[in-house]
């Protein structure tokens, strides 16, 4: 996932600082000056690696201004893997000036499902008592707290069984990686994934003891923690014996695919698998117009753009592309929590694109993007539903 900064020397030296990355960087577009440009961050990483720059809060703040959306990496004429360099630089910062808050959130809590559940339960309780609304209206709590929306009554893990049998003769035994965001914020997505796979002839294995995929840790510079999580999760799947693993979270998907710890385990794209399983099936199509947002971790990181659209076109009669479908929504994992205002500026553009289509539903394969877009639609008073394609498929299969 993330590499040592010095090992990327060949790559950051290759950056000729031409600035082409400025043309695609959503953060640069929002902030509008060189200090937010991807090449500027590569420049900082280079200085950090060479010791010309010491790790401090200002450097950390500059390097936090990246969504890791990979738009610059795709655009770079010198093929510089900008996102990897920024992740490695963050990792160096985490080593040289560890942040107690980051450690508490991403290492101490996030790696322990029971603590994560407890924390989300606490938030749920506060929301129920109106304490978060009160704190927000008094200005005591940051606006980023609104991003999660009202937490559902229970996480998916409470009702997803470890083994869900296939309907009819099992075609394959599929491992389901239930990610943290799906589990806590979007249990209906998890329910849809399991039920759809089961109905289409898969035995679904959801290990009880899965932990976070490791991406939030890697993005925050905690590489060792991320690696440990990957090893733990891979072992859980190996123990239960599966043909392949799927997940309904684009970010988890990219993390699993790019993790060395998952070597030897086939990680399938959920949309592609469903398209294959649906061959010959006739589905009830909704008349609602649906548009699709490409999650960065699926489109840019893994190059998957057709399969989700093909899946959506099976479920609706009126699919409509939005302009800039693969432009980042501004979520970027923890980015929107750290840099709320910048994130909202990027999100506003995405919401405008969605509105332009006249769609009743915007679908996307990443629960983090669902969270972000739902927040933007709510803020702008739009009556547009955000859904995961697998939820729409579940409705069509009923």
């Amino acid at each position: 996932m993330a590499e040592d900064l010095y090992s990327l020397k060949e790559h950051y030296l290759r950056c000729v600082r031409c600035g082409q990355c400025r043309s695609v960087c959503p953060v640069f577009e929002e902030i509008g000056n060189e200090t937010a440009s991807p090449r500027g961050k590569v420049f900082l990483a280079h200085m950090l690696a060479s010791g010309e720059l010491k790790a401090d809060a200002e450097v950390a703040q500059k390097l936090s201004l990246c969504l890791l959306c990979q738009a610059c990496t795709k655009e770079c004429p010198s093929a510089v893997p900008v996102h990897k360099i920024i992740m490695a630089a963050r990792s160096q910062l985490a080593r040289e000036m560890p942040s107690p808050l980051q450690k508490l959130v991403f290492k101490d809590i996030w790696t322990r499902p029971s603590l994560l559940n407890f924390s989300s339960g606490l938030l749920r309780g506060c929301q129920g008592l109106g304490l978060t609304s009160l704190g927000r209206s008094l200005g005591l709590l940051p606006p980023a707290l609104d991003l999660t929306g009202r937490l559902p009554s229970q996480p998916a893990r409470n009702f997803i069984k470890e083994i869900t049998k296939a309907e009819g003769a099992p075609k394959m035994r599929i491992g389901y990686f239930l990610g943290c965001t799906t589990n806590i914020l979007f249990p209906n997505v998890a329910k849809s994934t399991v039920s759809v796979l089961s109905r289409l002839g898969c035995e679904v294995v959801t290990p009880r003891d899965l932990k976070c995929c490791g991406l939030p840790q890697a993005e925050n510079g905690l590489i060792d923690t991320a690696e440990a999580l990957g090893s733990f999760n891979a072992a859980a799947f190996r123990r239960l014996g599966i043909d392949a693993v799927v997940t309904d979270c684009a970010s988890c998907f990219a993390a699993l695919r790019e993790s060395n710890t998952f070597k030897g385990i086939e990680i399938l794209d959920l949309s592609q698998l469903l398209n294959d399983l649906l061959t010959g099936h006739k589905l009830k199509k909704t008349s609602r117009i649906i548009t699709y947002h490409d999650p960065c971790h699926l489109a840019k990181a893994q190059g998957i753009t057709d399969a989700p659209r093909e899946l959506l076109e099976r479920t609706c009669a009126g699919f409509r592309e939005m302009p800039g479908a693969d432009n980042c929504c501004g979520g970027g994992g923890s980015f929107s929590f750290y840099n709320y205002d910048t994130s909202m500026g990027i999100l506003d553009k995405k919401i405008s694109s969605i509105k332009e289509t006249g769609a009743a539903v915007v679908a996307t394969c990443c629960p983090s993007c669902i969270m972000q877009i739902r927040h933007g639609l709510l803020k702008s008073g739009q009556n547009i539903i955000v859904a995961h394609p697998v939820e729409l498929l579940a409705q069509s299969l009923q």
Partner: protein, 471 residues
């Protein structure tokens, strides 16, 4: 004036959030794409982000009264340190001032602020069936202000020329803060020979005479069709000869690009799927215009060039054309692949030579590469004699870095010897001004006198374009 005090003064002119004074913020304005900036740190004392002519005027009045250097900057995509504060002072980052104020379709012109990015302007103009013809390779990031200041051109300069041909007038803030409009305050005429041509004086002046704050551009009807002929040569001499054959047949392609054997090899290592045929040279001819004309000219070029080339392919298929352009497009990045763990640098990268001496230039650059022990890749706009050389070096080997500097110097001197110029389109900045006297002779001193007359305090982008010393 120390950085903090300077910032405090500037905050009286601009809102505080558009004055960057932190050391890290300023450091991030210490580079452009040049080789020179890799090994020198030109950190400005302050960076400002102006958004109005009045703000620029206020900054200039302040700078002039306190004798503080001012350096205008666009996207910072240049290769010459032109936008860097080599003498300290204030960097004006104009790239965020990017409004297209007007597209005047009935008068075939557009009115823009300096920060508009080239490809975004052309995207906007496409809605009106128009385009701004100069076509730099840096279209995705370079700003119109930067293009005007450097008189940029690019792939299609063969037919459409450079930026200067499309500038009808400018709004310029002078070093003392006064504002002038060249080409006439209310003039929207496409032809104008009234008065000294101050517009052309400022185009290509690299920010040493004033700050360009508004640009009136001439725009053209968008061509309806394009086509590409790719010709493969077993002999390097035959490629420039084929270009002359095409010109002599009465055809003016919109672009003629060359890749020499090293460039072909680099592309094939970097992107094997492009699979360029191994050859001494490949030429790419592009023609544009109406569909019938494009077809006729393309087939004619293929017929003419076939006499010298091993093979010629003519296509108007969009996907195929994109593939062929990709071969040319990736050379710059592919160059570094000839030597693992090494980097391509921008030094001696933009000479321009007479068409009749292109072959000689290509051969002698190769010889110089051998002499200095530096891998070089050659490509460029052969249609107008503009050769781009990409030296590939180990940036961490200081001895090799010194050899690369020697190579760049030798390439620049070669250009002058061959009756050409040290720069075809990238500009002079602080990396080629030492050749100004050799290139221009007494005219270089006239340039200095113009500079002294307009900027007596020498605060506008000092140390650039003019011969060093005694500015």
């Amino acid at each position: 004036m120390d950085s903090q005090r300077l910032a405090d003064e500037l905050k009286k002119i601009l809102p505080a959030e558009r004055v960057l004074a932190g050391s890290l913020d300023r450091k991030m304005y210490s580079y452009d794409s040049s080789f020179h900036a890799r090994f020198n740190s030109f950190i400005p004392d302050a960076v400002v982000l102006p958004r109005s002519t009045a703000e620029v005027s206020g900054i200039m009045r302040f700078a002039s009264s306190h004798n503080v250097p001012v350096v205008p900057r666009g996207a910072g995509s240049g290769e010459t340190c032109g936008c860097l504060a080599t003498s300290g002072g204030i960097v004006l980052d104009l790239s965020g001032w990017d409004t297209i104020d007007e597209v005047d379709v009935s008068n075939m012109q557009a009115f823009v602020r300096p920060g508009v990015v080239h490809y975004r302007l052309n995207e906007h103009l496409a809605d009106f069936g128009l385009f701004f013809p100069p076509d730099p390779g840096s279209t995705r990031m370079c700003t119109i202000g930067g293009m005007v200041a450097n008189n940029s051109s690019g792939l299609r300069a063969v037919k459409y020329g450079a930026t200067e041909q499309y500038i009808l007038g400018l709004e310029v803030v002078m070093p003392d803060g006064s504002v002038i409009i060249t080409g006439g305050v209310n003039c929207r005429a496409l032809k104008n020979v009234s008065g000294l041509n101050l517009t052309k004086l400022f185009v290509g002046s690299e920010g040493i005479l004033g700050v360009i704050t508004r640009i009136r551009l001439r725009v053209w009807p968008r061509p309806k069709a394009r086509g590409i002929a790719m010709a493969v040569f077993d002999s390097l001499d035959e490629a420039p000869a084929a270009v002359l054959d095409v010109y002599q047949s009465g055809i003016l392609p919109s672009g003629i690009e060359i890749l020499d054997s090293s460039a072909i090899q680099a592309v094939n290592i970097y992107k094997p799927e492009i699979n360029l045929p191994a050859a001494e040279a490949i030429l790419i001819f592009e023609v544009d215009g109406n569909p019938a004309g494009v077809e006729w000219e393309g087939l004619k070029i293929a017929e003419i060039v076939k006499k010298r080339a091993r093979s010629v392919e003519w296509t108007t298929d969009k996907d195929r054309m994109a593939d062929l352009w990709r071969g040319r497009g990736v050379v710059a990045m592919a160059a570094a692949r000839l030597r693992p763990e090494c980097s391509r640098i921008f030094a001696g990268e933009d000479i321009s030579v007479p068409l009749s001496r292109v072959t000689e230039a290509l051969r002698r650059i190769k010889d110089l590469g051998r002499e200095f022990g530096i891998t070089v890749v050659n490509y460029g706009h052969i249609g107008d004699g503009n050769v781009h050389t990409a030296p590939v070096i180990n940036l961490e080997n200081s001895e090799e870095v010194e050899r690369a500097k020697g190579l760049a110097d030798a390439i620049h001197r070669l250009a002058i010897e061959l009756g050409g110029s040290t720069t075809g389109e990238h500009g002079v900045g602080a990396v080629r001004n030492q050749y100004a006297l050799a290139e221009h002779g007494e005219a270089a001193n006239v340039m200095k006198r113009i500079k002294e007359a307009l900027d007596p305090g020498n605060i506008m982008n000092p140390g650039k374009l003019l011969p060093p010393g005694g500015e």
